[in-house]
Amino acid sequence: MEQSIRQTSVKGWGVDLDAAQRPAVPMEHTPPGGTGAHWEQPEPQFSGIRVFQSIERPAMTHVYGTSAPPRGISGRMRAYAYEFGEARLARWMTLLAADRVDVIEGLVDDLQRGKIPNIFAEMGLGAEWKYNKKALVRRALVGASAVAAGAFIVSSARKIARII
């Protein structure tokens, strides 16, 4: 397959060949005009919610996010996870497990608020219907067949068990 491209045909070819034209060279560089900070240290943020802090830090950062505070069982699992350093697998696996528990807590929370989540809509399957209808129908048929086969096997097994 002939794919060769003449570099001279590319507009702007080589304009940044000189290292002086490369904005992140050298990697560590003090900006002559400053960074925009007009403080030695930022003022601290205060909020009434629980925010976890890595044990690899001596103190809280001056600014932090306050989205989705820890809650329920998942929150307790997260608190446990943050007792480990960042190089420990226990920290990350516990957080992933907490994320899964949080999903269940989210469903319960929805139901408690009288909201029945539309899982299909949340999965965006409308896009699948719009752009990939055949594959969606095929998957639905395979799924329905699997459920029907499973039901048949269970029903047959019960009949055989009764006969025996």
């Binding site: 794919q3 925009g36 996010g65 949340e122 965006g124």
Partner: protein, 383 residues
């Protein structure tokens, strides 16, 4: 306000949520005008990033209009049109002072290895992101940039992450005149990395992926030679073969944790998250690059560890460079490239979707439906 919220792996929805408030004297409240879905948002969407909590709002690529500023904000005022880099940077820590804004040490209490990022889990600071009508922007005097009048808002949106990350990927490759550069991944970042490689003086640019429509796009856009790895037996051997059996000078990993191409990597990195994602692209990059060559990594991986051939990297004398893009640092230079017509960022946008249809937008992007490359969400307040 209307906002995207995460409900669990492969589940998001648009729903009403309380508007954010100023929480610090250097905060700004920004009304979002555009927000993009990034390829790295899919790692969150697929439930692979630890401490991704139900109810959080994603989105680290957005533009907007300043609605309110805190008492210490000096560089922005109400009504300014701004682009907001994905890095939350304090401007005063030891790393920000070296212009490593992607490595800020004072914006993420939950971890030290990664700086604060908008809408990217509590592992990156627990900030809500810009896939909403309004967003809180901390350290408003540092990263946000007023959008110049002659820069299109869609171009500005691409400057918040995808273009600087792609450019920095090429720059970290230390490309020299005439170098052969291989980019793994034909997503938005890979596309911009391929285009940037020419600006840095590459002699040959090759893009490897398995999605034909994306390969066709980058073939014309970068332009680049293309390889669909599913049509060849061994990408490493193939790349050696087409580079005089030496290997490319520079390899760029613009794929990250959800790479296809290796059943073992996918099993151990995704199905059973025993490693920080499937490191197939990085594996190929290290094994195919020439001895003494450079490997540049901007693909996102998880915080644990990955199966990569570090022994080969040592034996070949490779230079491995990697980082989150330091977006603020690249903006003036990339804006000049846009003005000069060297790069047309908005050309990669394939879909513009109302924020209310965010669930379908995520599914479309994740499943690569309708030849999707870059999806932009538009909040009702921006229509």
């Amino acid at each position: 306000m209307l906002a995207m919220t995460y409900r669990g792996p492969y589940r998001v929805r648009a729903e009403q949520k309380a508007e954010p408030k100023l929480e610090h004297p250097n905060d700004a409240l920004v009304r979002v005008t555009r927000s993009a879905i990034c390829g790295s948002d899919l790692h969150l969407y697929h439930g692979l990033v630890p401490d991704t909590r139900v109810g959080t709002t994603f989105g680290h690529e957005f533009t907007g209009v300043v609605e309110e500023v805190g008492s210490s904000v000096e560089n922005l005022k109400v009504g300014d049109r701004v682009l907001v880099p994905f890095n939350i940077a304090c401007g005063s820590c030891v790393f920000c002072k070296k212009e490593l804004y992607g490595n800020c040490h004072d914006s993420n209490p939950e971890a030290t290895a990664i700086g604060g990022i908008f809408g990217y889990s509590h592992t990156a600071g627990g900030y809500d992101g810009g896939q909403a009508e309004y967003v809180r922007v901390p350290y408003a005097d540092i990263s946000p940039m007023k959008i110049p009048d002659d820069i299109d808002v869609d171009d500005a949106l691409m400057l918040t992450d995808a273009l600087p990350t792609g450019y920095q990927a090429a720059e970290m490759g230390d490309i020299k005149r005439g170098d052969t550069v291989v980019v793994f991944g034909a997503g938005p970042v890979g596309i911009f990395a391929a285009r940037s490689a020419w600006l840095l003086g590459a002699g040959r640019v090759i893009v490897v992926d398995h999605v034909d429509y994306r390969l066709q796009f980058v073939k014309d856009y970068a332009p680049a030679e293309i390889i669909n790895f599913k049509e060849i037996d061994d990408p490493v051997v193939h790349l050696k073969k087409i580079t005089d059996w030496i290997g490319p000078d520079v390899c760029i990993d613009a794929v990250g944790a959800e790479a296809s191409g290796s059943a073992l990597q996918r099993l151990t990195g995704i199905t059973l998250p025993l490693q920080g994602g499937a490191a197939t692209a990085l594996f190929w990059a290290i094994n195919s690059v020439r001895k003494g060559g450079n490997v540049s990594i901007v693909g996102v991986y998880g915080p644990t560890f990955n199966l990569v051939p570090i022994g080969n990297a040592i034996n070949k004398g490779l230079t491995l460079r990697m980082n989150q893009a330091s977006v603020k640092r690249h903006l003036p230079h990339l804006i000049e490239h846009i003005r000069a017509g060297h790069i047309d960022p908005k050309a990669i946008i394939t879909h513009r979707v109302p924020l209310g249809e965010v669930a379908e937008a995520y599914h479309m992007f994740s499943s690569k439906l309708d030849h999707c490359i870059k999806t932009v969400l538009i909040p009702p307040t921006a229509m």
